[in-house]
């Protein structure tokens, strides 16, 4: 029982990081932009929130918890959205190839983050010396009383607020995409931009907004990772990049529906951490267990492509740029 609770807790925390990445990328992909820069965007979000609160906490005597949260969230979201803006400008306005632009954004984002992360470590006096304790504590504040309410309380309520925020965003996004006029228009842009254009939808605007906001949401995954998951430090170990690619995998796994990300992300977490709780595994076979999320994603990709159900496919115009005068 104890082990099960521990597994669930670590899966939820792990899953939340990729859930942000996934729902942001879902919004982006619904507009027809395949942004492979998710890892880079999560890097940007993580590092800028850290930089923001690092300097805030150094500047004032007693940091205000609310202000800490706001600074972290806004700087993280903003930097990630700027990354999305760069990607949008290149792919939407300049019609550069989406895959190549996304991969470049990943290189660029990881470069920026690790460069400044390294400088920040130096400034703070060594690896692991960065202290943003006030902010990290604010992010990790749990719901009082409920979180101590037996095993259920520990399983469901013993997390920082961003776990619940992710679920809320996933639900709101599903409602927006499926139940509103704006969402319908956005899906039209992703499926067939020429038709959407003829309907009078401003394709460029839709794509820009979806990509930038989507990138911002993905960036929150980086914020959560830095502030809650690793408790407000920085390590140049490339783990955000791995998580970013898992988020891209999760988009496929959820068949482009953000509500599926709620359980899909936790399932990925369980799959990823399972090796830790299976007895008698050698260290080498643990490594094999870690590729389970990817294999499951491949299976979903294959199954959905063989069944040819329209609602489980990627948006039809995913990865292609749109130029009105093209046939």
């Amino acid at each position: 029982m104890e082990q099960l609770i521990a597994l669930i807790k670590s899966s939820v925390v792990f899953g939340t990081v990729i859930m942000y990445g996934c729902i942001g990328e879902t919004l982006t992909e619904k507009s027809g932009n395949l942004n492979l820069g998710v890892p880079g965007i999560m890097y940007l979000g993580g590092i800028s929130s850290l930089i923001g609160v690092f300097f805030y906490e150094r500047a004032v005597e007693t940091p205000n918890a609310i202000l800490c949260l706001l600074i972290a969230l806004i700087s993280g979201f903003g930097a990630a959205a700027l990354g999305g803006l760069l990607y949008s400008f290149l792919t939407i306005t300049l019609r550069a190839n989406q895959n190549v632009t996304g991969l470049t954004l990943t290189i660029f984002g990881s470069g920026i983050a690790n460069f400044f992360g390294g400088s920040l470590n130096k400034l703070a006096g060594g690896v692991g010396q960065i202290s943003v304790s006030a902010t990290s504590a604010a992010f990790r504040t749990q719901i009082p009383f409920l979180s101590e309410w037996g095993p259920i309380g520990r399983m469901l309520f013993s997390y920082g607020f961003m776990v619940y925020l992710a679920i809320a965003i996933a639900v709101i996004m599903h409602w927006y995409l499926m139940r509103t006029r704006g969402g319908l228009n956005l899906r039209a842009v992703g499926e067939n931009p020429a038709t959407a254009d003829a309907m009078g939808i401003n394709v460029t605007r839709k794509k820009y907004l979806a990509t930038c906001i989507g990138a911002g949401i993905s960036g929150l995954g980086g914020v959560y990772y830095v502030m809650d998951y690793i408790k407000g430090t920085w390590a140049n170990d490339g783990s955000i990049e791995k998580l970013g690619w898992l988020a891209v995998a999760l988009v496929i796994f959820t068949t482009w529906k953000s509500v599926n990300a709620i359980w899909g992300a936790y399932l990925f977490g369980v799959l990823y951490w399972m090796y830790f709780y299976i007895p008698n595994l050698t260290r080498s076979s643990q490594e094999l267990f870690k590729c389970l999320p990817y294999i499951v994603t491949i299976l979903v990709l294959i199954i959905s492509s063989t069944r040819k159900k329209k609602e489980q496919q990627a948006p039809a115009h995913l990865g292609l740029s749109y130029f009105r005068e093209d046939r």
């Binding site: 395949l34 492979l36 760069l86 290149l90 306005t93 300049l94 019609r95 550069a96 190839n97 895959n99 190549v100 632009t101 991969l103 470049t104 954004l105 990943t106 290189i107 660029f108 984002g109 990881s110 470069g111 920026i112 690790n114 460069f115 390294g118 400088s119 140049n236 791995k242 690619w245 891209v248 995998a249 496929i252 050698t282 260290r283 080498s284 076979s285 643990q286 490594e287 094999l288 870690k290 590729c291 990817y294 294999i295 994603t297 491949i298 990709l301 294959i302 492509s305 063989t306 990627a314 990865g319 130029f323 005068e325 093209d326």
Partner: protein, 374 residues
Amino acid sequence: MSTQSVHVEREPLVRMVKRDGISNQKAWLIRGISLGSALVVCALLIFMLTKLNPLKVYSSMFEGALGTPRRTWVTLRDTMMLLCISIGLAPAFKMRFWNIGAEGQVLIGGVATAACMIYLGGKVPTPVLFLVMVLASTLSGAVWGLVPAIFKAKWNTNETLFTLMMNYVAIQITSYCVALWENPFGSNSVGIIHPNTEWGWFPKIFGQQYLLNVIIVMGLTVAMYVYLKYTKHGYEISVVGESENTARYAGISVRKVILRTMAISSGICGLAGFIAVSGASHTISVNTADGRGFTAIIVAWLSKFNAVVMVLFSFLLVFLDKGAVEIASKYGLNEYASEIIEGIILFFILGSEFFINYRLIFRHAGKKDKKEVA
């Protein structure tokens, strides 16, 4: 004021028109300008961040990449590595098959090579060992690429996402093998394989350790150039890439071309893994490919599959990387600066493609045109 403007359709400030074609010279001029402006932006950034003279920084990059014969050879070795993967990706991309899985194909090829070195080293004659290594790495790479290709050919499964996922399966298999073969026990790394006997290592040619890498990759580059440009297969690849329907109409079996091309593409990536393990690092780890599988995608795409440009591009990126490491140690910076510079340069070159494919028409220029017509 408003009454008049209501009737006149306001022309947008800038309009873009697709170019019918552009002379090669002009296209390369545009790319050259974008590269130049990228370097200027990087220089400004370096100055802002570090207050160092950017020209000095650039010259110490030169020092780092080509300062000594040893450094030059290492730069050359890494250039060949990147080039080899790009050469492998070129036919797939020309077919508009997004093989994002080079990273995994290289790793699997490397794992196969390392397995041969560990289990066969010293037990079979050297030529046989090399033959087995080449075959094993090429075949395993090809299998890694063929799996997504089969599903693409049969069910049109999205190959971008499929090959991307295959990378991570390959990375985990590599860490599995690293844990299996670790030496010494508990170090969590394989260490140099056969450090004393050098079984399965590339032989030195004219006393140069990495000359064989250069010869193999240069040979592959020429062969790929000829294959894409002068053979029937190469022609079929470009037809399928332009339009699958046209290809079908012309009687080309699209399925066969996809499978064959992907086998070649990922086979070469597997061979790159062989060169990385047997010809360079003599060990295997998850960092054997070191992100080159992704960088090569950018190289192959931006050089438009032009072999000469691919050589130059690979060199540029490796040069930046080596140079940045040198700056990092010299000025106490962080070596990730190279990724930032690389990113900026690539963004500029990506953006410049727009000006090669499209032409901008400004409102005033348009009016002049009309007047002239009138």
